[in-house]
Amino acid sequence: EPEVTQTPSHQVTQMGQEVILRCVPISNHLYFYWYRQILGQKVEFLVSFYNNEISEKSEIFDDQFSVERPDGSNFTLKIRSTKLEDSAMYFCASRQRPGTDTQYFGPGTRLTVL
């Protein structure tokens, strides 16, 4: 069964450093998402991406965040200058169509900011 993949599985970084989290969505999916989950809390929406542009973003997704689809397969989340509170699990998800289709989550990247 096709699946969403994410790399790395765990990233440790110093406060103020830039990180790039990578995702490969399911190949025939058109809608891509990033979510964040702080330990013990709910899954929070960050951003959605369709047709090579951001379609919606939450208030969490401020200027330090950016997303890109540099080629036909990868979907990246960049955090420009990490803060301690950015420590969380970051999940990528993809979907063929919104509204009716299943949204599949990747295994996540655990980001630890020291």
Partner: protein, 111 residues
């Protein structure tokens, strides 16, 4: 606006049944149910679309009452493997069709 889940936690013995509820203050287009085990990604269980449908997946089923803006997940004859946190994700009618997740219900099944 996030959906409200209840109860926050359920502790069961193997073979017992449980019901987890998810309600919204907004009109819903669909409800997604996921199970997440500690340190892992949410795993999709089922999606229910408006129209008041019910769905089943092994011994796990769900209903969606569009008029009441709520969904319920039914776990029957629970197994140890059912332990985890169950999240509902709702998509609003006329919204952006991006699931908003509840805080989750922790389910623990004991032998």
């Amino acid at each position: 606006q996030q959906p409200v889940q209840s109860p926050q936690a359920v502790i069961l013995r193997e073979g017992e049944d449980a019901v987890i509820n998810c309600s919204s203050s907004k009109a819903l287009y669909s409800v997604h149910w996921y199970r997440q085990k500690h340190g892992e990604a949410p795993v999709f269980l089922m999606i229910l679309l408006k129209g008041g449908e019910q769905k089943g997946h092994e011994k796990i089923s769900a209903s969606f009452n569009e008029k009441k803006q709520q969904s319920s997940l039914y776990l029957t004859a629970s197994q140890l493997s059912y332990s985890g946190t169950y999240f509902c994700g709702t998509e609003r009618t006329g919204g952006s069709y991006i699931p908003t997740f509840g805080r989750g219900t922790s389910l623990i099944v004991h032998p």
